[in-house]
């Protein structure tokens, strides 16, 4: 099943909306492992970059390819949205849904659902309607639902933006655990502290272009450009 | 003797086809309530299940033309003759008649109660211009009304707001007349059976011009091969038999007889 690292390559990728370029041109190669944090001010194109990589946003120019063929690559990815999308079903049914799509046998679905519910602390809420959960619980559920299929690459778009400290901590712990067990994670965030806590490498987007990138220690210790330095300090960068 | 043979032939024919047929009848016939008496007797005597479609005369003729029914029973001589002439019906057989009457507010503002003829009564109404409801639906009743206006030398198209064409069946038209406290021409049977008389009363009747003849027309099987000509013939035989004569003549509403049987034996 494992057939080499999943490398993503963007070549001269451009996304235009209503005539304006919101992302690009971008030339980027993402290695098959690591915990990458994508930083940048609002409107820099972080969400668009993620969506292009995941294949749910169409490119106006250029190409976005994975080192695996299309359907295989698609099946090995998962995405968590900033505002969690809950199916109008119970917690257990939400968790089971991605597995039902690929016709996983009943027994295995049940085992994995129980296991993941425990990991996110919702064991006694299996039959509760998912839309009725709190914000933090919903996001944890979304994360568990994303991880339940054991994806090789996980995208997250500012997952903790609307959550309180406790939920943020719980999610970060889950992400850390996922990364340790081999999931490659690409995430955007506004929270510089979070970036510091989690990233193995970072990308800085400004005005739709990749302004800077590099491994975490280097990125923080010796920023390449004045904008990077300013941004990491918390200044407003345009 | 011929009567006996006819009856035997009838029952013989009936035994051979204990089936059903569709008969389109007019609302005024149905409203009289006579069908409730006749249908069970027809079933008992001939085994025929006559399915009644109660529609306006125009629609009945249309159904006959299209071959959607096996026979029709209507009361509009000119239209019937045209129907047979055009080949839609095989022939026209008179069965019975009742009469039309003029209904109006009990106070009779137009003073038609003492008119000499129906046409004269209508002329009085045209002069006094009280509310008047017309069927306006090209039915036998409507055509009778128009012919009376014509006899009186009047043209309904030129009437003002006092003349209302409702484009509906007898019952609905009577309802409207009751609501408006208006004059209306109705067949006697529908009037006697009508449940919502309000302030209306029967004001004028008896003019031979108000004669309302019902005729039975079988749909032409040469035009529509699927039509149940045998059943239609059986029904015609029954409707012109002594048994039918008895039932029709003795049918009364509130003690008043309604119809006069006038079917002639077949030639």
């Amino acid at each position: 099943m494992v057939s080499g690292p999943m490398i993503a390559t963007l070549k001269e990728a451009v996304v235009r909306r209503r005539g304006r370029i919101i992302l690009g041109p971008v030339d980027l190669t993402l290695p098959g492992e690591g915990f990458t944090l994508v930083l940048g001010p609002n409107g820099a194109g972080k969400t668009t970059l993620l969506k292009v990589l995941h294949g749910v946003e169409r490119l106006s120019e250029g190409s976005a390819t994975w080192s695996l063929p299309g359907p295989e690559a698609q099946a090995a990815q998962a995405y968590v949205f900033q505002t969690p999308i809950m199916l109008r079903r119970s917690v257990a049914q939400n968790l089971a849904y991605p597995l039902e799509l690929v016709r996983t046998p009943r027994a295995e679905i049940e085992t994995r659902v129980v296991e993941w519910a425990a990991r996110i602390g919702l064991s006694d809420a299996l039959d509760r309607p998912a839309p009725r959960l709190s914000g933090g619980e919903k996001q944890k559920l979304a994360l568990a639902r994303a991880l339940i299929r054991r994806p090789r690459v996980l995208f997250l778009d500012e997952p903790c933006a609307n959550l309180d400290g406790r939920s943020t901590r719980e999610i970060e712990a889950l992400l850390h655990a996922a990364h340790t067990s081999g999931t490659r994670i690409i995430m955007t965030t506004h929270n510089l502290g979070q970036a510091r806590r989690l990233a193995t490498d970072l990308i800085l987007l400004l005005n739709g272009k990749v302004h800077d990138q590099g491994p975490a220690p280097v990125f923080y210790a010796q920023p390449n450009t004045p904008e990077t330095k300013a941004f990491l300090q918390g200044d407003i960068v345009e | 003797m011929t009567r006996m043979f006819a009856l035997i032939a009838l029952l013989w024919g009936a035994a051979a086809q204990a089936d059903e047929m569709k008969l389109a009848v007019t609302t005024s016939f149905h409203n009289s309530g006579l069908s409730e008496v006749l249908l069970p007797a027809i079933k008992a005597d001939t085994g025929l299940d006559v399915q009644l479609l109660v529609v306006g005369t125009g629609q009945a003729l249309r159904l006959g033309e299209a071959g959607d029914v096996d026979a029709i029973l209507v009361h509009s001589r000119a239209a019937e003759e045209a129907f047979v002439e055009a080949g839609f019906g095989t022939h026209r057989r008179e069965i019975m008649y009742n009469d039309f009457v003029l209904i109006g507010p009990a106070a009779d503002p137009a003073g038609i109660a003492n008119a000499e003829t129906a046409a004269a009564a209508l002329a009085l109404i045209a002069e006094a211009k009280p509310a008047f409801v017309s069927r306006g639906d090209d039915s036998g009743t409507h055509k009778m009304e128009l012919s009376l206006w014509s006899t009186a030398g009047l043209e309904p198209a030129g009437f003002d707001g006092w003349y209302s064409e409702v484009g509906a069946g007898m019952g609905a038209a009577l309802n409207t007349a009751a609501g408006l406290n208006a004059y209306i021409m109705s067949d006697r049977a529908s009037w006697l059976n009508f449940g919502n008389k309000a302030d209306l009363a029967l004001l004028f009747s008896g003019d031979p011009a108000l004669f309302n003849q019902y005729a039975y027309l079988p749909v032409n099987p040469e035009r529509h091969a699927h039509v149940k000509a045998g059943a239609a013939a059986t029904l015609e035989g029954w409707l012109t038999s002594g048994r039918a004569a008895e039932l029709i003549t003795t049918y009364k509403i509130a003690g008043e007889p309604l119809f006069t049987f006038n079917a002639k034996p077949a030639e």
Binding site: - | L53, V54, G171
Partner: protein, 234 residues
């Protein structure tokens, strides 16, 4: 006012004595309208959902036409179906005119646009909600429709009940194609029309109250069966 009271009394006695004519026409009303409902739902529910998720060139026009069809006057539908099924018409050989089947056909034509339109509206909202997630999960098209139909089932139930209401109370079309034949195609609504025409308001109202009671019973039964209140907000 006395007429309305007379109507209520009439309805009461008809029901309590289980008047055989009443039972017959009530059962026939249910038979015709429920059959029409089931057939209409089989067409309208998937179609409305499909319309919500699929993007194609004439989508807006199709939706506009669908919504306009909701305003089809039933008696016009009846007339057209009559002309189709008439012996002189294209499908006359089937001999369907003046049968309950013809009435079912007419009612299916009348209520399908209504159900499809409500379905489409509800599914559109649900699709907007689920869109990103289902695309991300790479859900195949038929699975998307199944998921939307299942999760949106409460609104679909409303759509179906709206269709049922329209069908059970309909009189224009079934009068024309059914012929209101006693013991063959007479139902509650056509019987009411008949009695009204005869001026027998008490009986007509009585039958009307029976019809209303019937519609209420069906609605309550469906809601009870689907436990709409107990299971929560959606």
């Amino acid at each position: 006012m006395t007429d309305i009271w007379a109507g209520l009394t009439s309805a009461f006695w008809l029901i309590v004595t289980l008047d055989p004519d009443l039972v017959e026409i009530t059962l026939r009303s249910l038979q015709v309208s429920l059959t029409a409902l089931i057939i209409a739902c089989c067409i309208a529910l998937p179609f409305g959902t499909w319309l919500a998720v699929r993007r194609f060139r004439y989508r807006r026009a199709t939706i506009a036409v669908l919504n306009a069809l909701m305003g089809l006057p039933p008696v016009v539908v009846g007339l057209i179906v009559y002309l189709m099924l008439s012996r002189s018409g294209p499908f006359g050989v089937l001999g369907l005119l003046f049968t309950p089947t013809a009435m079912i056909i007419a009612q299916v034509i009348i209520i399908t646009p209504l159900i499809a339109s409500i379905t489409h509206q509800a599914m559109r909202e649900l699709w907007a909600e689920y869109h990103d997630l289902l695309i991300s999960l790479n859900t195949p098209k038929h699975q998307r429709i199944k998921t939307l139909l299942w999760d949106g089932r409460r609104t679909l139930l409303t759509a179906a009940l709206a269709g049922f209401g329209r069908a059970i109370g309909e009189v224009g079309a079934i009068m024309v194609v059914g012929g209101n034949i006693d013991h063959a195609t007479r139902v509650l609504t056509t019987a009411i029309a008949l009695e009204t025409g005869k001026g027998d308001f008490a009986l007509a109202l009585g039958l009307g109250f029976v019809l209303i009671a019937l519609a209420l019973v069906v609605n309550f039964a469906i809601h009870a069966l689907s436990r709409t209140e107990r299971e929560g907000t959606w």
